[in-house]
């Protein structure tokens, strides 16, 4: 077999992996983890009946969703009603193709990368493709011909469009640091500088992750589906496999946002502290990547069980009045630090130290405040 053919086959395999494995991970691992972790946080058990420790709950859910009758309301816009869930899954899965999960490996004498495509405008492509996912929700909400769904769709339209902006702007700061749009290259730059961008980019990361949570419609920004207000909003009229698609789309989007956060700020597949703990390099990069992504997924779950929901106008205020100005300031600051030392990134390191100190100070202050409040209460 010629290397070219093998290469093609490998790419096909990788694509298949994304299309097959990610839904499986979503169904079995993330949903299970979410329900068990939330159960733990809320003093209850979570699913523990299907299979050992409830591990097969995902399978049961899958069977239920697939065999359930797929209803389309009589007065719904049929085509859009069908397109909605499809449009929310496909962009999310496509975005995954760009995420590098590790360094290249050799299979059968052919070197293959652990990503489907290294697009040189990767980040732009990513932003573009994920914003198509918005249409899925808007279409679904509108096509259902249900007032609650319509409100959900409208909310998501406004929300997602507003939060694209701070998300894009927060990524600009990373671009300034890495001087590349390619996700693979961004990780390599972090390796070369021995500096994860989380340190100089603490603010960018904060902005990115907040916008990311808003983009994926998760707590505390889950307004489009606000269960207690809009009765699941845009997906009220969906059942069976179409509902499963929305579900899949949402969770895949969570994976995408987490993976991009890991790639941009947490050194992708790199092991932490290469100087202090060189032993950690033995662990393959893909494991590091998965651990990091898992952590962010955990954060999502954590948020969900902790925060109340924002109100629509407050959400808009937060986005336009806080996140966007902050991200503009952030770009200026990072740009200045990049210019200070273009060769070794000393400016960035300095910014990293400033942020770290600031973070520790903030943490200490909040602990102190809590301690004082407790003492006062006593």
């Amino acid at each position: 077999m010629s290397p070219a053919t093998l290469q093609t086959i490998l790419t096909a395999v990788k694509i298949l992996l994304i299309v097959m494995v990610v839904p499986a991970i979503v169904g079995f691992v993330i949903v299970y983890a979410e329900r068990r972790i939330m159960g733990f946080m809320q003093g209850r058990l979570g699913p523990n009946r299907v299979g050992p420790q409830g591990l097969l709950q995902g399978l049961a859910d899958l069977v239920k969703l697939v065999t359930k009758e797929d209803l389309t309301p009589t007065r719904a816009e049929k085509v859009s009603h069908f397109l909605g869930p499809v449009l929310s899954v496909i962009p999310a899965l496509t975005a995954l193709a760009l995420i590098p999960v590790g360094e290249s490996i050799r299979i059968g004498g052919v070197e293959t990368s652990l990503y489907v495509a290294d697009v040189n405008v990767g980040l732009l492509f990513l932003l573009g493709i994920t914003s198509i996912g918005v249409y899925g929700i808007i279409l679904g909400g509108w096509a259902s011909n249900n007032k609650f769904s319509l409100l959900g769709g409208l909310r998501s339209a406004a929300q997602l469009v507003s939060y694209e902006v701070p998300m894009g702007l927060s990524i600009v700061a990373v671009l300034l640091m890495s001087r590349s749009l390619s996700l693979v290259e961004i990780v390599r730059v972090q390796d070369r500088l021995h500096l994860w961008f989380i340190f100089p980019g603490l603010l960018s990361f904060f902005l990115y992750f907040v916008s990311g949570v808003a983009e994926t419609n998760r707590n505390p920004f889950d307004l489009p589906e606000a269960e207690s207000e809009l009765v699941s909003g845009f997906n009220t009229e969906y059942s069976g496999i179409k509902f499963a698609f929305y579900f899949l789309g949402e969770y895949t989007a969570m994976i995408v946002v987490s993976s991009v956060a890991v790639t941009l700020f947490f050194g992708g597949w790199l092991a932490p502290f290469p100087h202090l703990l060189p032993g950690l390099r033995i662990v393959p990069g893909i494991v590091w990547f998965l651990i990091k992504v898992g952590f962010f997924i955990f954060c999502y779950i954590w948020f969900r069980s902790t925060f109340p929901r924002y109100r629509f106008d407050q959400l808009m205020n937060l986005g336009w009045k806080w996140l966007i100005p902050l991200s503009l300031v952030n770009i200026m600051v990072v740009a200045g630090c990049v210019l200070a030392d273009t060769r070794h990134g000393r400016g960035l390191r300095g910014l990293g130290w400033v942020y770290t100190g600031f973070f520790i100070l903030l943490f200490a202050l909040s602990r102190l405040r809590r301690r004082l409040a407790a003492a006062e209460a006593r």
Binding site: G43, T306, P308, F312
Partner: protein, 401 residues
């Protein structure tokens, strides 16, 4: 000029035919086409009766401009069971279980208010032990009702976790009720003139242990909500109502106290042994959802304090006063009320000297507090409406009766 029956009949059938024709061929509705696409600003939204946040079968007809509420008209009656009429067909003691089913989240206070009304009519003296136990039951019920309120209104605003904590503690209270009277929700735990059962010492000890532990649990809920920025954003300044307006609307309970009026029947018109107990009536300042939240949280702490005092005062004794076997009060009209977790629940009883009430009217706090909902909701957003339904704290069983 007199009309013959035939004429009447003919008129009747003519009218019927006309009505039937109208029904089958409705006149074409004249829909005025909007001048431009953007002229349409109002949308009518049916909020309920099947909606997770209406806390039952409340239907609210919403007129919304985008997400802004132009008008909110509550439509009640989906749970109407004719309880007040039922009262008239049954003897005085038989009415007690029906009062359970009004405010099913707080059955003990409904029982209490009804028993108090009949006792006032009969002029029965209630033994001290019975008084204390009644107060204990009332306050346990207040805690459990406020726990339901806290959990559900948390969920309304998207905070799911407090719900589970609240229901964990409520479960314990329901277990206490079950051990006391065998029922968990529809307690039927009071009798005219006293109580059906005495307490066991073990029960009192278990309640004491729970009460000692409970303030810490409240701290837990508060860590999740009280200082939470999002929680504050969602509740501070939402649904503000002034003290004067509260009085005008006839609002009672935590709603009026949240607006700064120290109006609590346990203080204002002490019944049973409340006048000798030491507790404060928490009040708010701004009359918004957040203040009402703080008032209810503090009320739970005060209830725990009251229960502890009552347990300390318990001494062996009678649990039922001298009540005739057949209750046949004199023909008289009487009103008595207690402070339920939702506000003033009162019974207006008209007796005609038989063993059944001639008329028994209920003053349900949920129903009267619900009236203010349109006033509270106007101008807010749809998301606030669920917060407001939560903060008014209604139980549809009591609203509709």
């Amino acid at each position: 000029m007199s009309r013959t029956p035939e004429q009447d009949e003919a008129d009747y059938f003519a009218a019927r035919a006309k009505a039937a024709a109208a029904l089958h061929n409705p006149p074409a509705r004249t829909v005025e086409a909007p001048k431009t696409l953007f002229d349409v600003t109002e949308m009518e939204l049916n909020f309920g009766p099947q909606h997770p946040s209406t806390h039952g079968v409340l239907r609210i007809i919403l007129k919304v401009d985008g997400e802004k509420i132009v008008d909110a008209i509550p439509d009640v009656g989906y749970l109407h069971r004719g309880t007040e009429k039922l009262f008239e067909t049954e003897t005085y003691p038989m009415a007690i279980p029906h009062t359970d089913r009004m405010d099913y989240v707080a059955a003990a206070t409904s029982n209490h208010a009804y028993c108090l009304t009949v006792e006032k009519l009969l002029g029965v003296e209630i033994p001290r032990r019975a008084q204390l136990i009644r107060v204990i039951l009332d306050e346990l019920q207040r805690i459990s009702s406020h726990l339901v309120w806290l959990g559900t209104s948390g969920i309304d605003l998207g905070a799911v976790t407090p719900f589970w904590y609240c229901f964990r503690e409520r479960e314990q209270i329901l277990d206490f009720f079950e051990e006391y009277c065998g029922a968990r929700l529809t307690l039927n735990c009071m009798r005219i003139g006293g109580l059906p059962f005495d307490l066991t010492p073990r029960w009192a000890e278990a309640v004491r242990a729970f009460i000692d532990d409970f303030p810490k649990k409240i701290d837990d809920y508060e860590t999740l909500l009280t200082d939470n920025r999002i929680w504050k954003k969602r509740t501070v300044g939402v649904g503000v109502i002034s003290a004067e307006e509260c009085v005008e609307w006839g609002l009672t309970g935590p709603v009026i106290r949240g607006s700064g009026v120290e109006w609590d029947l346990r203080r204002a018109q002490p019944y049973e042994c409340y006048d000798e107990l030491d507790f404060t009536v928490p009040t708010g300042k701004n009359g918004d959802t957040y203040d009402r939240y703080l008032v209810r949280i503090e009320e739970m702490r005060q209830s725990a304090k009251i229960i502890r005092q009552c347990l300390d005062r318990l001494e062996p004794g009678e649990i039922k006063g001298k009540v005739p076997r057949v209750i046949k009060p004199i023909a008289e009209e009487v009103y008595a009320s207690v402070e339920s977790p939702k506000g003033e629940i009162g019974f207006y009883l008209v007796s005609n000297g038989t063993n059944k009430p001639y008329r028994l009217h209920v003053r349900p706090p949920s129903f009267i507090n619900l009236q203010a909902l349109p006033r509270l909701a106007r101008g807010h957003l749809v998301s606030d409406l669920v917060a407001l339904i939560g903060t008014v704290d209604i139980v549809l069983g009591e609203v509709d009766r």
